[in-house]
Amino acid sequence: MTETDPIWGRFTLDSLPFVQMIEDPSLNEMIVNGGGAVFVAGTVLVPLLLTYFKLWKPLWNDWLISTDHKKIGIMYIVFSFVMMSRGVAEAIIMRAQQALALHGGLIEQEHYSQIFSTHGTIMIFFVAMPLIAGFINYVMPLQIGARDVAFPVMNQISFYLTVAGGMMLMISLVIGEFSDGGWTGYPPFTGATFNPGVGPDYWIWSLFVSGIGSTLSGINFAVTIYKMRAPGMTMMKMPLFVWTTICTAILMIFALPPLSLATLMLAADRYLDFHFFTNDLGGNMMNYANLFWLFGHPEVYILILPAYGIFSEVFATFSAKRLFSYTSLVYATMCIAVLSFTVWLHHFFTMGQSALVNAVFGVATMLIAIPTGVKVYDWMATMYRGKIRFAVPMIYGIGFMFLFVIGGLTGIILANPTIDFQVHNTLFLIAHIHNVLIPGVLFGMLAGYHYWFPKAFGFRLNETWGKISAWLWIVGFMVTFSPLYYLGLLGMPRRSATYTDAAFEPWMIVSGIGSLIIGAALFAVFAQLFISILQRKKNLSPIGDPWDGRTLEWAIPSPPPVYNFAILPLVQTRDEFAEAKMADRAYPEPSEYEDIHMPKDTSLGLWLCLLSIAWMFGLVWWMWWMVIACMTGMLLAFIAWTFRIENEYVIPASQVREEHETWLAMIRETQPVDRDEELTTLNLGYAQTELEG
């Protein structure tokens, strides 16, 4: 390592892209700094608005220090929507660059490389991961009849570590640069020899810290499901979303450590001159490829399984039918979870294994299609002869069913090593991954967003804007990514800022137009939210069951009280709330109430977040005093917290009684609505059930 300043490390004024723009005002620099300017404007504007509207205190008390799984879940989703805005903006820049590439393009090669690296990193780790963690956090404890997760403070810490990782990506916009090594960060390209700058270091530490957060989340979710289910809820009575959550949690527990380890080993190579993945002195980058994909492949199932769970709930609810073949869905989910650990090598078929090894992993990959196919047929059979309502989640669901199957089939094509040798590293692969992640994960999450929004906030989202948004996503996705399949077959490599073959250009322009439609779709999501908040009085559903739901989260008020359940439910059947409504035993009036113990709030997570941001910043810029100070600070903050041994407060039974009886009285005074009136102002969330079994 070269000599650096003891205080400022290797940071100089030239590290600021802003300064570079002043020295060289080109379109490229403008675009690069545009993102940074938006981030800076946001960080200035948000505190000003908070001060103007006097919201600091409620923000602090109700949200930032909260250990309530519902609040943390909502914060995860807000965070991922913010990050998604940046990810989609980058996607549009990339599509525009390639559409205009033969005419000079918009940005330079180096910045294009940074943009595809941040796009991938953001979308996987700071959009998809927080979205699933958010939905699991919010919904899973409600579905199993629990009052919180097993470890509420650890849950808060997980959230804040994810945010800290995301903040590093934001900071890299304004100070220094981000990695140009793609979201996979393969050494030796990202090693110190080829890439001595700060970019890969930003990438390493943001993934390491958020990866620790995700590991802790996985532990938390698994233990919550194993230990905190309401009495009577045996494993085979759990809602399917809970089943997919337990599988995802198990994958997180076992699949995140390889990522943490791979990033740490890369850091050791870069900082301490180790030789794990270097070209000289015995380093072996194949170890990195194996470690990274031992994480990377289960990761895609970590993301998709909760989406399967959400769709299972949506198809059953909006078809007014019991889920077809629950047992086969459970076994299929488990099969996918196990198989996901047996296929990682298909990400590098071309990197020198023998034909036999490739064949084994190719076959293992194809096997995953079997349980996935089982699921698709189960969902179709669930809809068959159901009373289907084409509400927004169902539009996403049906879009998912058509498009995801195409994505799955192209996956089977790629699983064949002989074909993979032809199309690997082309846009075919890019089309495939987006074809499973957008119609699969993202549509699932947006369906879930629409489905559970009234649970979280007590009013429904605007249906018209929801439909506009859903159709824009579906069309935008098809227009953007169908051309990429074709271009991939023509042989266009991925990650190219430009190309020479004019035959690519028309398809690139189509794809660029598609990305604008996706941009419009994201805009429609935000417009829908804004309009829905304005119109909230028209769409209230305080009683809590606006969709004639089947599972326990619909049996409580919207938004739920902090303790979720006034009386813990005694579960007798699968789809407990649906059965209760059919047997006319929903909304029971308990004779006695008990004091409820709830976890106290704490600011520990927030401190760890701020200190870990500073810690990472110090590491990236070699400000060693800051690294040591922040590590000491984190350790002391945590130890100090362990000295607070009274971690619970009591909600007296009288208060629980009062709140619960007010709600029960509201139900008695309300006229239940049937499904024809589901989308009208009459739907206060008291369903006249049309379920028949």
């Binding site: 097993a150 470890f151 590991t215 996985g218 532990i219 938390n220 698994a222 233990v223 194993y226 230990k227 905190m228 289910r229 009495p231 009577g232 045996t234 494993m235 527990i253 076992f254 995140l256 450590p257 390889p258 943490s260 380890l261 080993m265 050791a268 190579d269 301490l272 001159d273 180790f274 030789h275 794990f276 270097t278 000289d280 002195l281 015995g282 380093g283 072996n284 170890n287 470690l291 031992l294 005694l570 130890i639 362990t642 000295f643 041994i645």
Partner: protein, 210 residues
């Protein structure tokens, strides 16, 4: 859990059938087992990396030049004995008759852990003096990462033990401190198991084939 006595609460590990803090302790303990499973993956992968790196010394010193089996024997003896002493501490935690022995056994464990770390660090320094530094070769990088991670765990466990000793002094043996001690003991035994793997694979197997 009102129905806890009649209904089987859940399949799998049901350590304690009870109310309130007992159920909470059981949840915390189970969570710690799950954490150790995750931690074990880190060690397992580093073992795998180490095995692929055996012999990759790039002309630098290898196991035959660097390992000191006398010191390793002492480290093994210290760590395995400390596993026994922390076991005695958990006995003292459980049985009121010998409860007074809790702190002495913890102090003995801490001393043994400290001794282990002392010999390990001395070994590392001797190896470095003989040219065996992690930047010398892929093999040594893998060696220091794996053995170092174990040593880091022992050090972290020792810090945890010191914090718990302070908490025992401040709060007495209240429930939450007892539960934490139980988890620390689990970690300590876990580190022993890892050390047995390290001794066999890193040192013995590495010495045979390196």
């Amino acid at each position: 859990m009102d129905n806890g006595t009649k209904l089987k609460r859940h399949p799998g590990l049901n350590l304690i059938h009870g109310h309130g803090y007992e159920a909470k302790n059981e949840t915390a303990l189970f969570g710690f087992w799950v954490f150790m499973m995750s931690d074990l993956i880190l060690f397992g992968l580093l073992f795998a990396v180490y095995i692929t790196m055996i012999g990759v010394t790039a002309g630098g010193p290898g196991p035959k030049e660097l390992f000191d089996f006398t010191s390793l024997g002492i480290q093994t003896a210290l760590l395995l004995t400390s596993s026994m002493t922390i076991g005695m501490a958990t006995f003292a935690l459980k049985h009121p008759r010998c409860h007074w022995q809790l702190v002495p056994w913890l102090l003995v464990t801490l001393a043994l852990g400290g001794g282990f770390l002392y010999f390990e660090v001395t070994d590392f320094m001797n190896m470095a003096a003989a040219g065996g530094v992690p930047s010398r070769s892929g093999y040594l990088s893998a060696f220091y990462a794996l053995v170092g991670l174990h040593g880091f765990h022992v050090a972290a466990g020792s810090v945890w033990m010191i914090v718990l000793l302070i908490q025992l002094a401040v709060f007495g043996s209240v429930n939450i401190v007892k539960s934490r001690l139980l988890r620390l003991a689990l970690l300590w035994h876990f580190l022993d198991v890892i050390w047995i793997g390290i001794f066999n694979i890193v040192f013995f197997y590495g010495w045979l084939y390196g």
